[in-house]
Amino acid sequence: MGSIKDKVAVIGVGATKFGEIWEKDAEDLLVDAAYEALDDAGLTPKDIEAAWVGVLYNFTGISGSTAAEPLKLFGKPTTRVENFCASGMDAFRNACYGVASGVYDIVLACGVEKLMDTGSAGLPTSDFGHPVMGGVSAPGMFALAATRCFHEWGWTKEDLARVAVKNHKNGVAHPKAHFRRAITIEDALNAPMIAWPLGRFDCCAMSDGAAAIIITRPEIAKATKHKDDYVLVKASALALATVMPMYKGSFDYLGFPATRMAASLAYQEAGIKDPAKEISFAEVHDCFTITELLNIQDLGFVEPPGAAEFVRDGRANVEEGDIPVNPSGGLKCFGHPIGATGCRMIYELTKQIQGRADGNQVKNPRLGLAHNLGGPASVCSVTILGPRD
């Protein structure tokens, strides 16, 4: 198998504010994000040769038209990518291959979701799946892991709450985050239950938003606005595990195989031998607090069951942490308009490495890792970015 390492450069990034944006539709959000990215790259829509757009829900958009229509990218190959919560990052991954193959020079990868258009009462799940088998809410899917981790390792609701408190604190600093209010452990523990043991502050809320990334090959990047500080793609991996883990007798619910497999592929592609030492910071998929804790282990930052302690000891904090996790506030605070999230993470990683983060700035960032985990932990995407040589 080959490698994407150092074959793709990020030359422009854009993202809207994430939140309850009732008055804007998908067209508004994509135009805002894409033009911000184009301005960042010093380019215009005419320069885009191909586009990939990540969208989960049909009510946000169907087909490549989701991006082609708002941006009037007619006559260009534009593809909608859907892969649960990894949709946006998988759009980026596919876009990378378009560029690395040499077929397209300047490519747009973007993502958008208008979750609030179905109301704020939780992700619509009734359109998925079987008449009678396997129904469960999104929080419920991940709560199953929390229950088992409590049982096996003695993790507690306090351990989960610490993740929420950290990410809320980070969100306060980020002007584009959905939630910018600090919370306490007490707030988290006293919040209404959503899917035991996950309460309201253990769950990322519903948000609208869009993000866009312009990519090219490094030799072309050297002639653009960010010629001195374009960011290189070191790895972009995707791996799937079963979409029915609750029916798999050998699954232990103490971590997610999709993440371990995607991380392994990404580290191999990037030539990383010791992620805990080589990864400077990470934006990981904290759809729920339990997921962030398991991500920290599954990504190899600490051996199980050390994630609770890792967070408790401040090792994931921006200021003093070994590996700042979710310096932007994560899905929890930044928000999770599903199709947009992967690209938003690429946006964040890029600006962090370039030293121009909108919110908290990670000190001396080298390699940044972005991680998404979608469905019942069945699809995982891991992208690693690093500074240019």
């Binding site: 939780g122 008449p131 088998m133 809410s137 035991w196 029915m244």
Partner: protein
């Protein structure tokens, strides 16, 4: 002549004190308590529970026919018996029939079963009855009625022999329900009781006993169904039956369980019987049925069978009348529309209703739902369909407050169960306090109505706590 080889019963977990029902409306309360079917139960699901109880230790493939009796069929057009048959994993080449529209339907079904076995058109007929009738709120009827199910297995060779079937047809008296009525109706209860129930029961019983040459004193146990305790006592006195020999009508513990009454009472009588006992059975409703049952041998032990006494002991008292209103859907709630698919539901019926999984013949892994390619070893198309176990333990769970865009105050426990005999399934848990769910808890599976997606009854399995041995 046809025999009875086994029996079973089912009473829903929840009970409500009649005192609480009376207080809710500030009307007098009848003594005792009544059984309340849960919101996910109906006559079909309760019938499956009673029939399973009856078939403990019996190979379902040995059953040739299902006769189902009820006055509360969940469909006006769609036969219930085949749904019950699938849930019990019976063969397909069987005869099925629903007997409906009368309290008497269960003994009509019993007589038809006996005739089938006697004529040789079937060897083993499952007769099951279930009812969940509704009495109008703010009346004594809602206190008096109760929900439940009973079953017997009629065969050509069993521990007890039925004989003397005698029937009287139609008394043209109530109580009744028209097709468009939700609640039981009555015009003049005293006429209905005296000239309908009592007169017919007495005439049928006396005529039958005389033809069979049996006297009241010969009866060891009398299964006499009744509308209410007083008229029941009156009929027994008229027939000269010693009160000590009367089988408990379940008025004070379950309520009147409609068509299921006779079989639930019979299950109790057969369980308590000894070889040599002669049982009298009478039933009423648009006429009357009477028969005799001679107990020839002791019934074989069936360790898993709870029967009426076992289920009566499994109870949880509702704290308030509103628990009854909610469970019996007497209060209107906005239900968000739900989509299902008749096509998918039918295609996957053996996995959903018969609860079959598959075992990979290469690596031995039992898995569910049934895949083409083994989940563990990746071998294609080398799996054999297998029955899955109906009990297991909880590997992990959540208490889910989110459902169809609604926030539920009482969460739905969603449970990952490792089944006895292999296989892991993901089910809703019912009949439990969500706060009591624990990892490692033993559970048993129960057949329930899940939802009304696309406006048909979507049945499936849930789990409930396995009662601990006393």
């Amino acid at each position: 002549m046809a025999d009875i080889a086994s029996f079973g019963a089912y009473v829903p977990l929840f009970r409500l004190a009649r005192k609480d029902m009376g207080e809710a409306w500030d009307i007098p309360a009848v003594p005792g308590e009544r059984a309340v079917a849960n919101v996910d139960e109906d006559s079909i699901t309760m019938a499956v529970a009673a029939a399973s109880d009856c078939l403990q230790g019996i190979d379902p493939a040995s059953i040739d026919a299902v006769h189902f009796a009820t006055t509360t069929a969940p469909y006006h057009e769609k036969q219930c018996a085949p749904i019950i048959a699938s849930a019990l994993d019976l063969r397909r080449d069987i005869s099925t029939a629903d007997f409906t529209d009368s309290i008497r339907a269960a003994t009509t079904a019993l007589r038809a079963a006996a005739d089938a076995v006697t004529s040789g058109s079937a060897k083993r007929v499952l007769v099951v009855a279930a009812d969940a009738r509704l009495g109008e709120p703010e009346t004594p009827w809602e206190q008096m009625l109760g929900d439940g199910a009973g079953a017997v297995l009629v065969t050509d060779k069993g521990a007890a022999t039925m004989h003397g079937f005698f029937s009287l047809a139609g008394d043209h008296l109530g109580p009744w329900r028209r097709a468009e009525d939700r609640f039981l109706r009555s015009f003049e209860a005293r006429v209905e009781t005296q000239y309908g129930y009592a007169a017919n029961t007495v005439e049928a019983a006396k005529t039958m006993l005389q033809r069979e040459g049996v006297a009241a004193g010969d009866i060891a146990r009398a299964v006499i169904t009744g509308m209410d305790p007083r008229s029941h006592g009156g009929v027994a006195r008229t027939l000269g039956i010693d009160p000590a020999k009367l089988q408990d009508t379940l008025f004070f513990s379950v309520g009147h369980p409609g068509a299921a009454q006779v079989l639930m009472m019979l299950a109790g009588a057969l369980e308590a019987s000894s070889p040599g006992d002669k049982l009298l059975v009478t039933n009423y409703g648009d006429g009357s049925d009477a028969l005799l049952i001679d107990v020839n041998k002791a019934f074989p032990a069936a360790p898993g069978r709870r029967s009426i006494n076992g289920y009566l002991a499994l109870k949880q008292t509702l704290p308030h009348y509103t628990g009854y209103l909610a469970r019996r859907k007497l209060v209107e709630h906005e239900e968000p529309p739900m989509r299902s698919s008749e096509v998918i539901y039918w295609r996957d019926a053996r996995q959903e209703l018969n609860f079959h999984g598959a075992r990979c013949t290469k690596c031995g892994t039992v898995q569910y739902p049934i895949p083409r390619v083994c989940t563990e070893c990746g071998t294609k198309d080398e799996l054999e369909e297998v029955k899955l176990g109906k009990s297991g333990s909880i590997y992990t769970f959540t208490l889910d407050h989110l459902y169809l865009g609604m926030y539920l105050n009482v969460p739905i426990p969603r449970v990952v169960v490792d089944l006895e005999g292999g296989g892991r399934v993901f089910l809703e848990m019912t009949d439990c306090d969500p706060q009591g769910v624990k990892v490692g808890m033993p559970v048993e599976l129960t057949f329930r109505r899940l939802h009304e997606g696309s406006e048909f009854h979507n049945y499936y399995w849930k789990c409930r706590p396995l009662p601990q041995a006393a």
